[in-house]
Symmetry: C2
Subunit: 125 residues, 2 copies
């Protein structure tokens, strides 16, 4: 079997690009997720990429928690936790319930719960 060499092709933008297996690229492109899903998914993974946020989300799998308890659990400032929670809220990964002055955070996205679960299983195998 002879080794394949590259051929030069034109990009969508007209740029020269090098390609070795056009059919493999075509296959990959046809299976490719659309831009919106990709963006959403990578944002979710980004939310999980910080150890503090990951611990918070793991803890919330067992039920809601308020800000100061999350801070105590992690050993970081309440302000830092609040900033992190804002990111999670902006992504609609968590929701809040108010009881007097306390805000109780809980998971609001089944995908994230699933991903955290899978991650945990594999990490602790």
């Amino acid at each position: 079997m002879t080794t394949k060499r590259s051929t030069m092709l034109k990009d969508d933008d007209g740029c020269q690009i090098r390609v070795i297996h056009p059919e493999r690229i075509a296959q990959a492109r046809s299976n490719m997720v659309n831009g919106r899903d990709l963006s959403r998914l990578s944002s979710i993974f980004k939310a999980l990429a910080d150890p503090s946020r990951l611990l918070m989300l793991m803890a919330l799998r067992d039920g809601e928690m308020c800000v100061c308890d999350l801070a105590a659990m992690l050993g970081v400032s309440e302000s830092a936790v609040s900033h992190q929670l804002r990111r999670l809220r902006d992504l609609a990964l968590v929701r809040t319930r108010r009881d007097a002055q306390c805000l109780y955070y809980s998971l609001d996205d089944a995908h994230v719960a699933a991903l955290v679960g899978v991650g945990l299983e594999h990490a602790q195998e």
Copy 2:
């Protein structure tokens, strides 16, 4: 049912911290993953947090690909792809096979493959 108020406790380091539900914190701490697993897991999520890397890993689920084909698929420079692949290699998420001048990358971590799969399923539901 009366609303709980906070009590001041001492940190491991002797710092004053505010706590509302000590038993909930204790529960969360007892279920907490150890430092090494947490670090590894958040690193993996960080690898998945970049759209280009995520697309690469998704594509590699269907089989190995070489650098220039990955670059063509993504529409970015081969140098950029090479840098990204280095990060994935450093985390042992991918491995390489050499055929002449071409390096073929493939997935080398079942956890990552699983996480990408779960993410894809949920994104495309």
